[in-house]
Amino acid sequence: MSKLIADTEIEIPLETFPIHKDTDPAQRNEWKQPHRIILILIGLALVGSAIFFLRWDWLPNYGDLILQGLWRTIWILCVTVFLGFLLAVPLGLAQAAGPAILAIPARWFCTIIRGTPLLLQLWLLYYGLGSLFPQYPWIRGSELWPYLRQAWPYAVLALTLSYAGYEGEVMRGAFAGVPKGQLEAARAFGMRRFTILRRIWLPQAIHRALPTLAGEAVLQLKSTPLVATITVVDLYSVASRVRQDTFITYEPLLLLAAGYLVITGIIVFLFRRLERLVPSRLG
């Protein structure tokens, strides 16, 4: 079998696109191999026994809350990853190619964010900044006040800054890693600096950074439970609620783990799709 696969690989001409695992017929059937089938059966047996032998009678009462928590976790994740990345691009660019007046603050920002616990940042923003605001009448009177008195803006801000800090560093490396010749060719043809950034530099940097960004998005997902500490009801805090109400500990946590696993799977899948938009043999 392995001999066969090796032979077919040799016949692929260099010029064609790489054949991905899911489109290669020889590899698509791999999961039908005996040991895999046994593993799948064991997995199903575990899930089945969890369903039959553990208590799930509380589930219907918390269905709505779980969906709400799930939704909140997902949108906080998406919004903070998106906004964080938008901040990371200038942070990375400033460090990779900016003048010192931009590069130094950007490096400080990334160092501070990466050097302190996210929980600390979250609490500094919520309990620190959030408790300062009400002292100022003009803030209390402003149109932003209805938002500033809630917890979620602080959660979104803290998670966005955190993602920006980590990804700023990733993007710095990605910008610096684009071969000089790629940019020189753009300059040689009279491209303006912003056009070079938009058409050549940024796309290649993002493509280089994508695998890392995917990993960081997964880490970001697993940072979201921290928002429960500032009263934002996400997926994780639903599990706590169930435990407090019913003294059932294990089952909600199992469900929680499954939930995070599924979201992680979706993130990884989406990033793979993105990576494939351009074949991966860059420079």
């Binding site: 260099l14 010029e15 064609t16 696109f17 010749g181 790629q182 020189e184 060719a185 753009a186 300059r187 040689a188 043809f189 009279g190 491209m191 303006r192 056009t195 058409r199 050549i200 796309p203 290649q204 493509h207 351009v278 074949p279 043999r281 860059l282 420079g283």
Partner: protein, 272 residues
């Protein structure tokens, strides 16, 4: 107009009106720190000229080419392209840089540069590479650019590869693609910076053939090359650079047939 101290004594001013000047360089100096790479190089290329720059490594020939589209800023000297003087300002540290970035960008977009390492944009297919500058620099309509791009790819024999990414092309194919990309801007002058030096020997021929065809159709070209035989065939004028000065120059038959300077004689012996 220019910073150079000697514009008025420029001996290479156009004397006749036979062909318009495409590139005119006078007394070009380039210094990297303490190292003076170019020590006063002058050159005029009229429309239809094929000027070959030859010389050993470190002779300054690539630097000279890169100064012409300001990938390197010359330390001093006059550069006039399409009859347009490039204004330079002093950087206060003995060097100078273009006063007007837009002017440089405009001039660059008329010079088709071909690099030693191809430098096709890796995240774009071949056709996307070819239409990139026409669409995003010259403001050409996409459909029009694609039509021209397809013609150019056909000319360099790469029609079948239009939707392939550079990483999946051989060096020779990439370089021919890079030539199509340079042609797509309808350049006044093509600049070749050692276009075959990074190629496997068996791929050199296909690239030289494309360049030779361009020369035959009367395209203005500046060619830095190590291929002496090829330079002799296609060039209308050959310049031999040594240690940053033009040691000898003239028509190829003269230069290769009866070299005057001892260094050139020795150079021709060692490379052929």
């Amino acid at each position: 107009m220019t910073v150079s101290d000697a514009v008025s004594t420029d001996p290479l001013q156009p004397q006749s009106a036979e062909q318009a000047e495409a590139i005119h360089v006078w007394n070009l100096h380039k210094r990297f720190g303490a190292l003076e790479v170019l020590k006063g190089v002058s050159m005029t290329a009229r429309d239809g000229d094929v000027v070959a720059l030859i010389g050993g490594s470190g002779s300054g020939k690539s630097t000279f080419l890169r100064c012409i589209n300001f990938l390197e800023n010359p330390t001093s000297g006059v550069i006039r392209i399409n009859g347009e003087d490039i204004e330079m300002v002093s950087d206060g540290a003995g060097g100078q840089y273009p006063a007007n970035r837009r002017q440089i960008e405009r001039i660059r977009s008329r010079l088709g540069m071909v690099f030693q390492n191809f430098n096709l944009w890796q995240h774009m297919t071949l056709l996307q590479n070819v239409i990139e500058v026409p669409v995003h620099v010259l403001g050409m309509k996409r459909d029009e650019a694609i039509a021209i791009g397809e013609q150019l790819l056909e000319r360099v024999g790469l029609s079948a590869k239009r939707d392939v990414y550079p990483a999946y092309l051989s060096g020779g194919q990439q370089q021919r693609g890079a030539i199509a990309r340079a042609l797509a801007i309808q350049p006044r002058v093509m600049l070749f910076d050692e276009p075959t030096s990074a190629l496997d020997p068996e791929l050199v021929g296909e690239v030289l053939k494309v360049i030779g065809d361009l020369a035959k159709e009367g395209r203005t070209m500046l060619l830095v090359t190590h291929e002496m035989k090829f330079a002799r065939e296609v060039a209308s004028h050959v310049m031999y650079l040594h240690n940053g000065i033009v040691e000898e120059e003239g028509p190829p038959e003269e230069l290769f047939g009866s070299p005057k300077s001892e260094r050139l004689k020795q150079f021709i012996r060692t490379v052929s």
